[in-house]
Amino acid sequence: MEIFWYSAVGLVLTIFFILDGYDFGAGIIHLFFAKKEKDKEVITKSAGLFWDSNEVWLVAAGGMLFMAFPTFYASVFSGFYLPLIIVLWLIVFRAIGLEFRGQFKFQMWKDIWDKSFGVSSLLLALFFGIALGNIVRGVNLGSVENGVSAHEGHYFFLPLWNSSFSPLSDHPGVIDWFTIIIGLIAVVTLAIHGANWIILKTNSSINNKLKGVIFKLNIVLAALTIISLIVWQWVNPNALDNFIHKPYLLVFPIIYLAGLIGLFFRKKIKKDAHAFMLSTLIIMGGISSSLASIFPVILPSINDVHEHLTIYNTSASEYGLSVALIWGIIGFILLVIYAIVQKRLLGGKIDDMDYGH
């Protein structure tokens, strides 16, 4: 039952990153590559039409995590207090950037909200990557100092950073050089994903240029992936054990690689939807590989005093999980139906759609 809910939460979270990921990515591309007003407008629209229905997946994932793994929810949300609240603020800034841009016609107004949308998209992608980095790196559970715990073993509190910025210290912060690398991977991945989305959904004048951009970003991503694998070994010498003992888990990294390699041929791919699928594979593979590497642990402990948080020692009661299974399946089917109906209705290029209420 725990494995089912773990997979379900993982799936909903991955769907969230795939869906909201493209509008984060659109924001990053917007920030760096959109120069003409017409392009800025359609790129904003390609995110603005969809962001709120994409973010409901975050709410669903949060709710499911709360219900199925309350101890994990409590531990992680309080332990990563500051970065999470900052993420909330960024979500607000992004949303107002998207919703308010078109409300007045003068350029200065638009410029303000363009930056708000672009910068917060970039930072959100970075923070989500950093979060994933923190999960695979592990934290000082129980806030242990010289063998003495400051809290119960499933609580911790991380500062944003410590002076050494090192993942190898006894008290790593949220941001260190390892999590920054993972954060950059997230930024580059979502930028690629967003570029594919813009090409798919709009007739912007930079579409052709973006195909070249994707190629370059792909090189960066490949380089970062290799670096991260090397340093990951250093941060956590057992990082690849799961893949060695359970070779079928290798399917996740293979998905990642398939997407990554496929996108090197972006210019040859005729159907834009296929290219979008490839960057979707990168996201799916990236998240699932990271989670699979530590499974069934969901938050490793970096001290010897407290045990790792796993899906078994953080889950809700058996009865609760079984009842939720019934409504959960119905709910999930409904979610997928809504999403499909909505995507159908807003299918095709969106350049001429009315937006801005």
Binding site: A74, L88, H357
Partner: protein, 443 residues
Amino acid sequence: MEDMIFYDRLQFAFTITFHYIFPQLTMGLSLMIVYFKWKFLRTQIEKYNNAAKFFMKIFAINFTMGVVTGIPMEFQFGTNWAKFSELTGGIIGQTLAMEGMFSFFLESSFLALFIFGEKLMGQKLHFLTGFLVFLGSWASGWFILATNAWMQHPVGYEILENGKFVLNNFSDLFTNPWLLPAFLHNQMASVVTSAFVMASIGAFYILRDKHSEYGRLFLKTGVVFGLISSVLVAFPTGDWNAKNVAKYQPGTFAAMEGIFETEEAGAEIVLIGQPNMVEKKLDNKIAVPNILSFLTYQEWHKQIPGMDQFDEDELPDNIPALYYSYHIMVGLGTIFIGVMALALFFLWKDKLYNIKPLLWTIMFLVPFPYIANITGWYTAELGRQPYLVYGLLRTSEGVSPNVSSGNTLFTLLGFVGLYMLLGLLFLILVGKTINQGPTPKSH
């Protein structure tokens, strides 16, 4: 430790207060939009369709604000109230997850379809999408109220040795005797807000002599919905809730009614007075004898326990705030019934559109249903203190043990700043939409 709880509570109170400005309007408004759309299907008069679409624009702005201020609410259970989440997540996680999965999704998907899909799907389907938005937003209220009802009056649980609450009966969560009265009261109150907003926009259009055809429609619809909902909020739904509080939280009942001393021969109802916590009495009290006993139990001389019957650490920790919240809510509710009854009388006499003082009053009354809704929630939440889960888990036991007050104050200040900006932008946008009016742009 005291400090720590103080900032956590203040941050939750601030963010939920700001958040609840938006859902209270959208829940009520969705019902009225469905009414306009239905009226259009029946009569084929274009005016009703334009009215529905105009209010869906206002709805959409409020919905966006509700989403961005709502995500922090869900997060805060984990960030600031980790211990509470850990201990009760197996139960309230159920209802909160269902809210996200069933209602929030329904509302958001069909809102997009309503706004963008009218031409694509024809009028009947368009009505259906509007109806589903209504269903989603009310279902959302239902699940949130189910969560809150469990905290007010816990059911269907058992407590393990390690202090964790585990669910042992799922359906109890929805047959909780606290839930239905609270839900109906809350939904009626949200219709009050939307009806007053609609009437206020109508009065504004008439007074300004702009879009006056719509002004009359909005005013009329707002007044009719406003009177019906204002009455239903008080009776029977408000009455049910008061009886529930008297039954399940008697200490809270004494505190919110301002009864310091038990009276043998039946309790009086306090109309005005200021709680004096030093001398344990009400200053400047005006009260009517025996009415409270009658209202609560239909017996003039039924004894109602006062605060003197309870241990101090079982009573709400901020009695004056609770007492004022409750009395402001009741007082405003009474005024609403009066104003709307008067307006309906003149509407029936066909004079309403010309009585300027009444139109001005209706226009400026618009903040007050918001205040009444929010003080109503303060009554529920302050009244539940000093518990998070009534009688079982104290508020001080639910806070995150690992987050220091300095960090909480930092994020609280951040939220205050950000929400001020958000509020300002919201007003600009709503103001702009109202000013443009419901007449479709000619292309």
